[in-house]
């Protein structure tokens, strides 16, 4: 890369992670579009790239691009936080290529082989067939090796350099994040036991360890982008960790209402998952309050200029604060009580929540980190919005919100017609799917999906070109 201002190898590796993450983000949206088209035109790619395969690629690309961007974020912030170069960065770089190669192979197998006979070789080499973690077993072990290397990089650096509160939280969080993956790496004939542990991976990732990760990244962002006071930010971070883990760990119970597990999960799941939005409110307040406070302090000194040194990144961070609360908090709470969930479980309601939550809680802040990396890589002092960055963020956000609204309406139809009115059978399912409002909702979902994808093109263009744009202060 010409004119690369990075002296840290760790940050260089971070940019590699961000680049591949952005590519996978694009792939996620493309396969999402295929699946959305299939809802509207069921014959589309039938027998070639069936819905199940498009959806596997859609959600696996989602998880993997986020993991890539998360690793990238850690490699990016480690030198800033610890004051030293990341230890073992050479192995970290090697492992990056192993990770990329493994993903390419897994994707090719998904695309070209798709399904296998009902035996263990399929589980080991083609697909495990468990939503979100379909990756075959060999890839699971590869992921374990990759995650261990990453955790080793983080721990060795954290222990030798300055161990800030942010680094301490990340160390504890990432070891849990990596360890939890093991819960999804076994086969059992008992579907209830299967799903019990499967949720340990899915829920304890996205509703516990990933959320804490977001708290740590938000803390780092506030310090680097607006110069927020570290002591205040880290105190908030610890409060958030207490609230997130305090509610999120036992909030796991809201997945145990109907999978064969005992009734006491109704009460436990309802209580703790109802508390899950609280830390998200706290995070929202945290970001906006610190922003106002820092800006206010500057204004008192007679300094009217914005305290934000990276406008696009900060926009995405603020969107994160709001989107996390709205998507994970509000849309999650909608259907978290068992009395409601009895009817909403397994409907487009969940899908509406999934879209807004993954976007609001994770996509936003990780895109923000990509902008921070662009800023650092190009030695920009104050980074401003460009036309493309504004189009990108506006179209992606309105696209995702539009999809969420459409899916929520589709979910209502399913809940009322297929579930409450018709009693959930095969015929009931298709009665709901054929309803006019459901069909219209799926049309709108596709349109809004296309808007999201166009927004992504603007975002990609901006990430690739904004670094050289003369509009920024250097």
């Amino acid at each position: 890369m010409a004119n690369n201002h990075l002296t840290s190898e760790s940050k260089q590796l971070a940019t590699w992670y961000f680049t591949f993450a952005a590519i996978l983000f694009g792939a996620q949206l493309l396969f999402g579009l295929v699946a959305a088209i299939q809802y509207v035109m069921p014959g589309f790619l039938y027998g070639i790239l069936d819905f199940s395969i498009a959806r596997i690629l859609h959600i696996n690309a989602l998880v993997v691009w986020m993991v890539f961007a998360m690793f990238g974020s850690v490699y990016w912030l480690l030198p800033d936080e610890t004051g030293i170069e990341t230890i073992g960065i050479k192995i970290g770089k090697l492992i990056y290529w192993v990770f990329v190669a493994a993903i390419v192979v897994v994707v090719l197998v998904y695309l070209l082989i798709q399904v296998g006979p009902a035996d263990a070789t399929t589980i080991w080499f083609i697909t495990e067939g468990r939503e979100y973690i379909e990756a075959p077993r060999w890839a699971d072990w590869g992921i374990v090796v990759v995650a261990l290397t990453f955790v080793a990089n983080l721990f060795l650096t954290g222990m030798k350099g300055k161990q800030t509160g942010i680094v301490t939280v990340l160390m504890a969080d990432m070891i849990a994040f990596a360890g939890l993956y093991l819960a999804g790496m076994f086969f059992t004939d008992n579907i209830s036991v299967d799903q019990y542990w499967w949720w340990w991976v899915i829920h304890l990732w996205v509703e516990a360890t990933w959320e804490v990760f977001v708290g740590a990244i938000a803390a780092y962002g506030l310090i680097t982008m607006i110069g927020a006071h570290r002591k205040v930010v880290e105190m908030w971070l610890w409060i958030e960790v207490a609230m997130l883990f305090g509610s999120g760990i036992l909030g796991l119970g809201h997945h145990y209402f109907w999978i064969g597990t005992p009734e006491y999960w109704w009460e436990i799941g309802a209580l703790f998952s109802a508390l899950e939005p609280l830390p998200l409110v706290a995070m929202f307040i945290h970001v906006l309050y610190d922003w106002g406070k820092t800006q206010g302090a500057e204004e008192e000194k007679g300094n009217e200029a914005s305290v934000i040194n990276n406008k696009p990144a900060f926009t995405w961070f603020v969107l994160n604060a709001f989107g996390n609360f709205l998507g994970a908090g509000i849309w999650g709470f909608f259907h978290t009580l068992p009395q409601v969930n009895l009817y909403t479980h397994g409907t487009q309601f969940t899908s509406a929540h999934g879209h807004l939550a993954f976007f609001g809680a994770y996509a936003t802040i990780l895109v923000g980190m990509m902008y921070i990396a662009v800023q650092g890589t190009n030695g920009i002092k104050i980074m401003k919005h460009t036309k493309a960055s504004i189009w990108g963020v506006s179209m992606i956000t309105s696209g995702v919100v539009g999809m969420t609204v459409a899916l929520t309406i589709a979910g209502y139809v399913q809940v009322l017609v297929s579930r409450a009115q018709m009693g959930a059978t095969w015929a009931a399912y298709f009665d709901g799917q054929s309803g006019m409002w459901f069909v219209q909702a799926m049309d709108w979902r596709l349109i809004m999906g296309a808007v999201t994808f166009l927004g992504f093109l603007f975002l990609a263009k901006d990430l690739l070109t904004t670094g050289k744009n003369p509009v920024h202060e250097r």
């Binding site: 809802y39 069921p42 014959g43 039938y46 027998g47 069936d50 819905f51 199940s52 395969i53 959806r55 596997i56 798709q114 399904v115 006979p117 009902a118 399929t122 589980i123 697909t127 067939g129 939503e131 379909e134 086969f187 004939d189 008992n190 579907i191 209830s192 036991v193 299967d194 019990y196 880290e234 105190m235 610890w238 409060i239 207490a242 883990f245 305090g246 760990i249 796991l252 997945h255 145990y256 209402f257 109907w258 999978i259 064969g260 597990t261 005992p262 009734e263 436990i268 009895l342 479980h345 397994g346 899908s351 399913q414 009115q421 009693g423 959930a424 095969w426 015929a427 399912y429 799917q433």
Partner: protein, 228 residues
């Protein structure tokens, strides 16, 4: 000068975070032990001795399974081998499964094993939901075995030209593209006759799992739409 308040002390919050996390984790682990014992798969002896398990043993495929209201529980529960009238299973009434109702524990377990493997090898849950989890492109399979569509009065036996529920299901699974029920069709996934039998056993077994009343009213509402 007043002492600094503990509420603005980072160490206090770090310790609080550690204690809260530790406490929640320990509680979760403890509950996991209890739940694991309750959802461990039963065996043939349990069925013969009339012991109700949340996840019955594989030989449950030898029995008639229904989904009926339990006054005590306040929702529907799987009833195995007949109802005592109060929503408890009697474990008496058998039901032929591919012509037999005397599968041994080993035979039934290997069928279930094949079916569970098949459900993953064919990516079932990336279109369907199982126990309500998965994708929403196709019907939920939790109680598919009990769906009236496959029963003697349903359309699927006539459509597939088979005389029993299990044969109709197995035929459909092998050639789903020949029996469309909607513009959205299941693709041909190369399911063999043997695999189909395993998958149907897996579905029958799943319908016997106590899911705390999910899905509510399954198969009990007919023709309600448009006031028909």
């Amino acid at each position: 000068m007043a002492n600094k308040s503990v509420w603005s002390d980072n160490r206090f919050w770090r310790r609080s975070a550690t204690w809260v996390t530790g406490f929640a984790s320990i509680l979760l682990i403890w509950l996991t032990f209890d739940t694991s014992a309750q959802i461990a798969m039963g065996n043939d002896q349990d069925l013969k001795n009339g012991v109700t398990k949340r996840v019955p043993g594989p030989t449950v495929i030898n029995y008639k399974i229904t989904y009926e209201m339990s006054a005590k529980r306040g929702h529907e529960v799987p009833i195995i081998g007949g109802n005592d009238g109060k929503g408890n299973s009697l474990f008496q009434q058998k039901e032929k499964f591919f012509g037999r109702d005397d599968y041994s524990e080993e035979e039934a377990a290997s069928l279930l094993h094949l079916g569970k493997l098949g459900s993953q090898a064919k990516n079932c849950m990336d279109c369907h939901t199982l126990l309500g989890n998965g994708a929403y492109y196709a019907p939920d399979l939790t109680k598919a075995w009990l769906d009236p569509a496959w029963g003697p009065n349903g359309a699927m036996q006539a459509l597939t030209g088979k005389n029993t529920k299990e044969e109709a299901m197995a035929e459909f699974l092998q050639h789903p593209d020949q029996y469309p029920t909607h513009a959205r069709m299941m693709p041909d996934l190369g399911i063999t006759a043997k695999e189909a039998k395993g998958l149907v056993a897996f579905l029958k077994h799943m319908s016997s799992i106590d899911t705390n009343g999910f899905p509510r009213n399954f198969g009990h509402m007919q023709g309600a739409i448009n006031g028909k």
